[in-house]
Amino acid sequence: MSMGKSGLRSLDYSILQQCMHCGMCLPVCPTYAETRRERHSPRGRIALLRAIADGELAMNRAIAEEMNYCLGCLACTSACPAGVDYGTMVETARAEAEELRILATPKRDFIRWSTMRVLFTRPRLLRLVGRLLWLWQASGLQALSRRWRLTRLLPTRIRELEPLTPRICAKFSHQIIAPIERPRDGGVKHRVLVLTGCMQDLMFSEINRATVDVLLENGCEVHTPPAQFCCGSLHAHNGDHATAQLLARRQLDAIDPARYDAIISNAGGCGSHLRHYDRLLAGETAYSERAREWTRKLKDIHEWLVEIGFRRPAPCGEHRTFNIQFPTPHQTANAEVRGSMLEVGCSRSGDRGRSAPVTYHESCHLCHGQKVSAQPRAILRALPGVELRECAEATWCCGSAGIYNITQPRTATWLQERKVAHLRATGAEIVALANPGCHLQVANGLRAAGCVSTRVVHPIVLLAEAYAAERSTRSDVGQAP
């Protein structure tokens, strides 16, 4: 089957040719580590794609599956001295495989259509589904169905995935964040827009709230449109290039980047894709200029905070357990650890110098996709009462990788266990990370390993807590006789 002038053959050949197969990517590639077969390594895959572009090899089932076996973690792009654009190659190959319908089955077609084309292109529908799922969980029906083993009635694969169903928040972002919020002291130094994401909005809206709080503390006027489109990363990573472009256009129709100093993303996976709108829409004259402006303004929250010189929260005067209520008390399964969670920012002086050990897991698309690695650490180090402990293989994928834990459960579980072992070895009580997929994967992995007291949290939530603790101390001092 021939693709004519599309797909890999139409890809700029210099992208394929850039790989000089030195092998520097091998030690960082999780799939090569798992199998030790060159085919499952970045340089091996590039060799296959180049053979397709050269007409030596046809895109076939084996290649299509190979592309899906790749996590897309982009660790190879950080290791590659030659600057090979591996991400573009894999996305092009996946799109070609989808276009040729190589892996298509009616069931797969339906799942792809209903999620990527329907659910994740309609923000209100997505929230409705989220709300229904929340009702199912909050009403106790989920617990009941699990207790009565009704889940046994589900097909095997769904039954295996059912325990992984994420907890949905009681309130979504638009219910706890006003469209425009201004700093308390009125001093506005920057005007920014916050992207609330899809998964982040449904499962971790308190991270979005914390993002806004932290920005307000640092002189930003924060705009948060109540209805936002999916960024399209799910689509781009899974071979649906056309929908990814469509979503990027809608995003740009809804948000004019020129009005803001920065567009803020707090999810590693989304940010990595959002940053490349310039490339995604390069060929569309009506959008290309705006897309370039968007790419210039797009910042990860940690990156932006470091860039504007964020304020270090002051250590507290004395130790006390603060009982700060966030607008949405996070009703997670690890509610029992809430007692300890607010000690961050206050324990150093009170608890005779004891610091809470924190370790940082780097989301692939934050560190490899966006090259934001030092900034989250700078924020964690600025927290009073926190000791940052580095974790082995911090830049390795946790196995979440978008929908990888659903499509490739064996490898995903292997990586999850490997990750959890490294996290545990640090002795950290808190695991900080900045991507919703990683959040679920690591939390599930820790729970499966019996580490129920380890808290998994976004660095920005810790920073927001430290600011809140600081305010609370101040008001206490003010009330003192």
Binding site: G23, M24, L26, P27, R37, R39, L57, P81, A82
Partner: protein, 460 residues
């Protein structure tokens, strides 16, 4: 699936189905190693897990008359593990166990497929030191390092892989398994057959296990970055350091093009305006290190260094060395094909050789970047080209011939650390002379009479 009585069928029967690859999409990624512009798809790839399995593979391949090309991680830079037509690739990455660290005799025994970095780390964890550090040490296997006699950044003071091999297990073409060497510091029993296999590029046998010598870990280390406005000033500084009877552990050089590419990748703060850069490291007793590094600084200043900067801590020193190791691959940022050479000359001839490389590139209208191990005279002139441009590739070949000839005229060698492989086999006779070359061929015939092991490599 191949017929049961085919070579592949028999290999599957003995080594298991997953150990034998024959599908096109499995084989294409084994058509190359780290060398530019060499590509040959093998007939099959087989993964062995023990010396006995290697012996089985060699016996079966020998019976079928199929040549065998041994491979580790495939990072070689002379085509040593690029398949020959119709070859079976024997891959040893699954033989990856460190078998013993003997702290009483300061040795480490490992299977051939262990990654060099892991050897270093294991020694380090025991308070010991394995010095050879080829640029690819995070990727390459120890078996590959021994087969190619790899060098590295620390060659100046600590020598190369050969200097650390006390023994090895090798499987011969007929399937016999030999242990050569032992833990004795002194041993003059019989011919030194062990050394014959070090640097033999897979043409004499398959190395399956190595016994390595370790050193006590140096107590202190200091790293210095010096920049120069002219290449000659950097070269003269190197001569001055050696003449002052200081042997640093590392004395690396990068020209401006290389500096810029490396900085573009690694962001370690290299001065991109400098014409030349020296990365110098000394190690040993703290007092000796302090003395040496200050004398080196003084020599750099006398020779007109524009900036001098000491690494603040071990982490920064490691970052700088790691950045330097990326030089070859980082140069690929400029042009699609990077042809890396490793001519080596006596250190006194270094400045002359570098000038000649520059003049030769200009004469053939080629883009060249040069970096390398100045301290041991080992240069890496790297031609930046495009393998699809036949005319330019021809000019590269002509330029290389001139450079090899000049290196030999200055008393040097065509390869300091990458090996002859496919890339330089037509130049070996010229360097060795007819009599020595005939001896080399006689050795090959004696040990591998049917010419099944990596045929056509190293010799023509």
């Amino acid at each position: 699936m191949n017929a049961p009585d085919s070579l592949e069928g028999k290999l599957r029967e003995h080594l298991g189905v997953p150990a034998v690859l024959t599908a096109q999409e499995d084989l294409l990624p084994y058509a190359f190693d780290g060398t530019a512009a060499l590509r040959q798809v093998p007939r099959a790839v087989v993964f062995a897990r023990s010396a006995e399995q290697v012996a089985t593979v060699l016996r079966l391949a020998g019976a079928a008359g199929v040549p065998v090309v041994t491979r580790g991680s495939g990072t070689g830079l002379s085509g040593g593990s690029v398949p020959v037509p119709g070859a079976l690739v024997l891959c040893l990455v699954e033989m990856d166990r460190i078998l013993e660290i003997d702290t009483r005799n300061l040795t480490l025994r490992a299977e051939a497929g262990v990654i060099t970095q892991q050897i270093y780390d294991a020694a380090d964890a025991a308070g010991l030191f394995y010095p050879p550090d080829p640029g690819s040490m995070k990727v390459s296997t120890i078996g590959g390092n021994v087969a190619e006699n790899s060098g590295g950044l620390r060659g100046l003071k600590y020598g190369v892989t050969r200097d650390y091999v006390m023994g090895l297990e090798v499987v011969l073409a007929d399937g016999s398994i030999c242990w050569l060497g032992n833990k004795c510091v002194k041993d003059v029993a019989g011919y030194n057959l062990r050394d014959l296999f070090i640097g033999s590029e897979g043409t004499l046998g398959v190395i399956t296990q190595v016994l390595l010598k370790l050193l006590p870990k140096p107590a202190a280390r200091a790293t210095l970055l010096a920049t120069f406005a002219q290449m000659d000033a950097a070269a003269e500084t190197v001569s001055a350091i050696i003449a002052a009877k200081i042997i640093p552990c590392t004395l690396e050089f990068l020209d401006q093009k290389t500096i810029r590419c490396v900085e573009d990748f690694a962001h370690v703060g290299l001065p991109t305006e400098a014409a030349a850069l020296l990365l110098i490291e000394t190690d040993g007793h703290p007092a000796a290190v302090a003395d040496e590094i200050s004398r080196i600084e003084a020599l750099c200043r006398e020779r007109g260094a524009t900036t001098l900067k000491r690494a603040a801590d071990a982490a920064e020193a490691t970052r700088l060395a790691t950045a330097r190791r990326s030089a070859f691959s980082a140069l690929a940022r400029l042009r699609p094909t990077t042809i890396l050479e490793d001519v080596t000359v006596p250190r006194s001839e270094l400045a002359a050789m570098i000038r000649f490389v520059g003049e030769t590139a200009a004469r053939y209208r080629l883009e060249v970047a040069t970096f390398g191990h100045f301290g041991d005279g080992n240069l890496h002139p790297t031609f930046l080209t495009d393998e699809r441009d036949a005319g330019e590739m021809h000019r590269v070949e002509e330029a290389l011939k001139d450079i090899f000839a000049q290196a030999l005229a200055l008393g040097g060698t065509i390869t300091g650390e990458h090996g002859v492989g496919l890339a330089k086999r037509s130049f070996l006779r010229g360097q060795m002379g007819d009599a020595s070359y005939a001896l080399l061929k006689a050795v090959k015939r004696a040990i591998d009479p049917d010419g099944l092991l990596n045929p056509g490599k190293a010799t023509e």
